[in-house]
Symmetry: D3
Subunit: 256 residues, 6 copies
């Protein structure tokens, strides 16, 4: 069920019987010469909608702009700074509980959002307001990702390329995949900016000239389909696990 499409009286029975919401969160940021800036929020929305369709759980509209300051050197990257992102997400989540939601899956497709969603989730749980957890599609199927790609990226690599080839093929510049690969770096390791145990970089531009990593020529829409289906399964399982828990079991453990 997609919240945005519904009139309020039609949501009443959902809130009476269910307490889960899936909230898609992405980013609007450079994804190399071949992928659209919308990449992350398109992916997040696709997963959240698919899982909502399959399970009947509620999907909300998408938060399209996240924590992407580390891509600031590339045209078009939009972002909010971390404190503002956390506060926006926390306020939105707290308010969602006024309708009876007490568990939220942040269906996230942007690595830069992760620590902030974790911080918000920890705070909400500790306050016993809601149990909100972060899910990222590629983390749910690490073996398949490894099987399909030699150099998966992460950012703007074949993993994300395949996904957009599958979901929104018109938005991929297939004729730039080689350029994407050659203008970027194979991996963070290859960039040589982790020095003596310290990440001495802060921005994507410290590591890669064109903003991407990995071997984009390894991407296909068919791989995207496999990834999407496999990860959607995982998200569905997560929804089911979450729905099965009594709320008390989701709260912080007692002091020893």
């Amino acid at each position: 069920m997609y919240l945005g499409d519904e009139a309020w009286p039609d949501l009443e029975s959902y809130f009476e019987s269910e307490s889960i919401a899936l909230v898609p969160l992405g980013s609007t940021e450079q994804h190399g010469p071949h992928l659209p800036e919308a990449t992350d929020h398109l992916i997040a929305e696709a997963f959240a909608r698919a899982a909502a369709d399959r399970t009947g759980y509620l999907c909300t509209p998408t938060i399209n702009i996240g924590v992407s300051g580390h891509h600031r050197q590339f045209h078009g990257t939009m972002w909010v700074d971390p404190p503002e992102f956390r506060q926006y997400v926390e306020s939105m989540t707290r308010n969602l509980t006024s309708h009876g939601i007490d568990r939220v899956i942040y269906v996230n497709a942007h690595g830069g959002n992760v620590p902030h969603l974790r911080e918000v989730g920890a705070r909400l749980r500790q306050a016993e307001v809601a149990y909100a957890i972060e899910w990222m599609w590629d983390e749910s199927i690490p073996e398949l990702v490894d099987d399909l790609f030699e150099q998966n990226g992460p950012h703007g690599g074949p993993k994300e390329t395949s996904m957009i080839q599958y979901l929104e093929s018109d938005l991929v510049h297939d004729d730039r995949l080689r350029e994407a690969k050659e203008g970027g770096v194979p991996s963070v390791d290859a960039a040589g900016t982790v020095r003596h145990g310290s990440r001495t970089f802060y921005d994507a531009a410290d590591n890669t000239d064109n903003g991407v990593l990995g071997d984009q020529t390894d991407a296909t829409a068919e791989k995207g389909r496999q990834l999407f289906e496999a990860a959607s399964d995982q998200l569905v399982y997560l929804c089911e696990w979450l729905a099965d828990q009594p709320f008390e079991a989701l709260l912080p453990k007692e002091h020893v």
Copy 2:
């Protein structure tokens, strides 16, 4: 030009020659028994995209969740509190200037966002970071709105109903228009909650049982088309006016 669809190298020439961005902002909130919760962000996005298409200026992805706490009593309303909304919008706008944008039109379709967008805009202008102004479609064509409807609402009334009938007809419950009218109130005045000059209400629920005002039976998709075209013209003119100004002319006046 829609920022979300573009790869970063394809935005370079835009930022070299132009400095305007249209940012759609709406809300996700109850709009009565007949309209979807997405109403406001659908409208905002439609106007911003249309004006961007007609002028070639840049449209960004949409901020879907705004300041809607005054609709909290109705199922499904999502919101962030005012400080968090202002900070999110301000941070986003400041960061957008890193690419050369120095003037922004907040293409807004939710009255509850207005004072907050004005506050952010005033702060950004005073700091000489950007000149950002708020635009709401119905404010741009007050006479046409008055001509078309006896009781225009505002919230969830025939004005917004016509607009969604035109833009997303599948999302309107046409069979509930009479119910919408009969369960609501004709206007804020009719609710009688402005007492001795003081607005003694804070929430929509203080004024209306079903969340809406006005005569929804007066709405048609054809009226929606007229409204959309007329207001789109105004937005295009505003873009053109704005693009013509030297940045200095947009900054605060000197102290007398």
Copy 3:
């Protein structure tokens, strides 16, 4: 009863039997060549004191400095920025409840304070700390204002001029009323800064060279007296209405 004049033991019986306070809030800002910078806080205080005298309800000392950044270009305008104003007013109001006050009328005489007082009031009500509402004298008697003046201003116009002529005649430069009119603009509309539905101005100085609007030559102390008495009546009625409500009736409505 004026709180500032009382010793604490003499307030005990008031707090035992009543729970209303009137808090005057104004601004210290330019009001054109003819009116004093204190205009708004003088007016607010006069109304709050008068209504307290007539009803026996408690009036507190005045908050003299408000949100007036939009008058910054004119000598002597004092202001605090919106977040600081809201926080100051909210903290003051929350603390006032420690004595048993649970309903507050912000007797306000400055338009620039309005959205901020509304925001604070909404927050306090939602938190069930207090029911605080904003009242502005001219909003309570719109017909009389329209009857008395062709071009009422708003800022520094004949409406406010008459009021100070009545309340503090020594502080009005009657010999500058023509200059005030000729150096200003008749109305915001006349300034032409609402473009295609967007308020493209932020500061008074964007609209008027001398800081004022309307026809000041239309002002008289006698009109001021009429306005003061009529609006005072409204404030008294508002106090009485408010005192009659059970606190529960003032709280937010339940979720549908």
Copy 4:
């Protein structure tokens, strides 16, 4: 010169030639059974106005509500919490500099405001925005205070009683001076709440049943007059010293 009384054009020459402002700050809080809650802001305003009259420097309207949470147990005490007070004063002071003010004397009559005014002043000076210092009348004439009273208070004692007897005699309950003395304590020391070097009290109510300290029967209006005149002299001298300094001399010293 009192800013509140002036129209903006009449302030121009002041700001062209001078850069000092006196800002009165007080509190609205219990001052025992005999003194009005306005005591501190009345005193602050009286000193600031007097010094402005004698020197020609600018006095602004008064901030009437300060940091008085430690008097919360007594009817009618109003306060804002420390962070909100500091932010309000800092914002007001920063904005005042837009007219050319670069040095401010906080004419303060409430001990509870002191550390907060010092903190704000330090921040403004360090930022080279303004040089703002706190002045309290009794600190400027310690010997005279000691000469006139055996047990001066501080809070609501004979020092403040004499001052209000002189400034606003109608607001003093002279018939309660003995009651004030007998219901309070002679001094903080006498309350016995400084234990082993630690102030174990936070509120006035921890030390005194009726909210006051000292021997109020020792107060007279004539003593008030002497105090007022002597301290006014000191404030005038401070203004003169401050006006004589080049701004650079008021800024923080260089790093060694």
Copy 5:
């Protein structure tokens, strides 16, 4: 008992039977040419550890960096600004209560921390989270301090010099005591920066060229020993007094 040395299971019985913690707080800041920058946190830690050893109460690790911006002109001074200090200490203290601590002694050795610790303590007490009070060694033995030294400083004077000579003699440059005295000032009074009742200084550098006050040549390790023992006694007594109080007796008094 020192918390840092213990494994968690070994703390269980303490928290079952006791609810006091001693938290040492100091600063890292210049203390003249003869004393180490660690002076204040070394002293704070020494007192807290000693009192914990003598009483069996719990001592936590030390907060080494405090509010020392007023020493910024001297090499090596470290500090956090007041809001950040208060928030850090408040958060730490609130969280400490999760183990059952409800009373805290801030064993402080830096005057610049005092108002901030008082502010945090007042807030925590008002919220009924914890009763936390500030203790500074020299405030507990004013007579002995006066007996031992003619000009005790305060900052970097013979009082602190003696203490470090006793506690960490290797860190005192005994050969620079005369230089310390001659390069500094005897007292704040002697600096002449309290003008007409106003402290016109903000930084130590406004008063003293080498950062210190008092007569350092009057310091000896033996005096340090006397001071340490006498003040340790006071801290022990304070612990005992505090442990004897029922928690209710430590909370704010009721409204009159």
Copy 6:
């Protein structure tokens, strides 16, 4: 060079010639039945002091209390919440630059601090205030850690146990190593709380009954020595690399 031990004049030459500081940061939190709560700050301090000794660079006093809310269920864990930690560290670092420091290594020994130190570092770099990076000893020698231990933990495992056995052997309960192992879990994976790609845990207590992971019986002081020496080498190399960079090379890259 250890800042805490120095008198300010003795730091002058350092700041004239160098601009690096090492700031140790740890935590005070449960580390199982066998290790002291001080574990992380002891380790951080030991590395920072050792590297400072070997290179001559400046080491500051330690921040002993970090972000450890996820250990709250175990007696004695102390923490500040993430916003307060970030603000404290940011303020401290900004202020340190007043002496000429422009590059900082956060010598960190607590995983929970990492994202917060990264966030602060990114902000400071973007503002061009300082280049501050986080370093954690075990990240610098991943191969040696893998070689030495089968199940390294992370928290309270053999890696940290060996380190404390080497650095502070008296503080390790060697007789509880088997108990530590048997009461905990081998790894996060083994806890089974990463479900379908989502970390469904927030607290250590969600994963482990006694607070620790890994095989503590595999720890020895000799392994601790090897780890300490190898990682110290890495920290020294990092210092040298950092000192060799021109400041401009450390700043954010230009926009493409």
